[in-house]
């Protein structure tokens, strides 16, 4: 199997790796770059635990091949906090206890960050539909939705 040399930008850093063309971007992030924050729940695009942004678009990294990342920009959960300062979404998830086992949390945070970027003042319904592709088997979702809406409110006040 011929490996393909891939150059991409991950969380602002230029990264190079050799990918088997069958490997997903998720495989490459976890196994070649050591970025294990993105999780594999299903591997078939159903659960959202592997959510990342690819050139600014929210995608399941299990449904992208590593070789497709050539020349692109990838944002993962590892780039969310600013050093030791948590992103408001991360802080609100802790405050609202919006996680239990935590396996879905990185994907939900990445998805929620994108939601608040495109829609800083989402309704509860819009938030629930946006996050419909992020499955959580622990929380029942209510605390997650509350945390996202609370973070949105805080972020709007900061800008104002």
């Amino acid at each position: 199997m011929t490996k393909v040399h891939v150059t991409t930008t991950v969380n602002g850093d230029t990264v190079e790796f050799l990918a088997d063309p069958r490997e997903t971007l998720l495989d490459c992030l976890r196994d070649h770059m050591g970025l294990t924050g993105s999780k594999e729940g299903c591997g078939t695009g159903d659960c959202g635990a592997c959510s990342v942004e690819l050139d600014g678009t929210l995608v399941c990294s299990c449904l992208v091949l590593g070789v497709e990342a050539e020349g692109k920009t990838v944002s993962t959960i590892e780039g969310m906090a600013n050093g030791s300062e948590l992103h408001p979404l991360q802080r609100k998830f802790i405050e609202h206890a919006a996680l239990q086992c935590g396996f879905c949390t990185p994907g939900i945070l990445v998805a929620a960050r994108k939601l608040l970027e495109v829609n800083p003042d989402p309704t509860e319904e819009e938030t629930r539909y946006w996050l419909a592709g992020n499955l959580c088997r622990c929380t029942g979702y209510d605390k997650i939705i509350r945390a996202v809406l609370d973070a949105a409110a805080e972020m709007r006040q900061e800008v104002a």
């Binding site: 063309p21 069958r22 997903t24 078939t44 959202g48 449904l63 091949l65």
Partner: protein, 288 residues
């Protein structure tokens, strides 16, 4: 598996025509990668189309229609005001496919070529009278969208052929379209029945119509009898009943875990009525 990323459709076609093993074209990958993961399809040659110039573009044609590249994802269709204004039914059908994350990748062309009878974007394209441009070893040909599906997981594309663009006709005046599907939940599900209606009015009278049904036969159906039931009418109750009867009569579904044959036949008529009302209101310029 060999990964190819050609930069024009003729090369993509030549690669597929010359391949001896299992070949797949890759655009959004939301079906292909799942099939690879499940071991259902293990391609020897995977041909990524996203390096071909123009595949991510939506452009207006000289005649006022729209040409949609094969790698345009649902989220881009949903954000395109001009396309949504002309063909809201086509866009809403595509936007029902999967999650926000899947919308970031999944494409109209992929939804069509995956060959699912329940593909949510296909009835809207069929009702709209959309055509596909096919690049093959002998050149380029154009065929109607409804001529592509050949049965579950199958298309009429020959070896070496691939879709190089989807083209929607000019919408024109006093016209509207709509797509509805039935699922037992609100989101993230596969259609039990889908129905798209596109129509044009003169005053309050329907002068043109196309009705398409999904998930009630081995392929998406274009139901001319259902269109005939409302052409020449003002979509009064009698016309709606005739439309529902024609849609139900055309439905030839199976019973599976998502719904029984009897249920699907009934719902085909119900959705046809509702979609026709929405298309009618849109043609009148009302927001529906």
């Amino acid at each position: 598996m060999r990964y190819h990323s050609p930069t024009d459709f003729a090369s993509a076609s030549a690669l597929a025509a010359g391949a001896s093993g299992v070949t797949r074209f890759l655009s959004g990958g939301t079906d292909v990668l799942v099939q690879m993961r499940a071991g259902m399809v293990l391609p020897d040659d995977l041909i990524d189309l996203k390096k071909i110039p123009g595949v991510s573009d939506i452009t207006q044609t000289a005649g006022g229609g729209w040409r949609i590249g094969v790698a345009v994802p649902g989220i881009v269709l949903g954000a395109h005001e001009g396309l949504k204004a002309d063909w809201p039914g086509v866009v809403e059908g595509m936007n029902l496919v999967g999650s926000t994350q899947v919308q970031g990748r999944a494409t109209l062309t992929g939804n069509l070529c995956n060959g699912s009878p329940a593909a949510d974007s296909v009835p809207g394209l069929v009702a709209a009278g959309a055509v596909v441009e096919i690049t093959g070893p002998t050149g380029v040909r154009t065929v109607a969208v409804e001529a592509i599906p050949a049965g579950p997981g199958k298309t009429t594309l020959a070896k070496g052929e691939l879709i190089s663009a989807i083209v929607l006709p000019a919408r024109g005046d006093n016209a509207g379209d709509a797509y509805l599907r039935f699922i037992p939940r609100t989101e993230m599900d596969i259609a039990v029945v889908g129905c798209a209606v596109s129509l044009r009015l003169s005053g309050d009278t329907i002068t043109e119509a196309r009705v398409a049904l999904g998930a009630v036969a081995p392929t998406v159906l274009l139901v001319s009898a259902a269109a005939d039931a409302i052409i020449g009418t003002t979509l009064d109750d009698a016309a709606l009943d005739a439309l529902a009867a024609a849609a139900s009569a055309a439905a030839n579904p199976i019973t599976d875990k998502r719904g029984t044959k009897e249920f699907r036949v009934e719902i085909a008529g119900v959705l046809a009525k509702r979609a026709a009302k929405i298309a009618f209101a849109r043609a009148k310029g009302e927001t529906a």
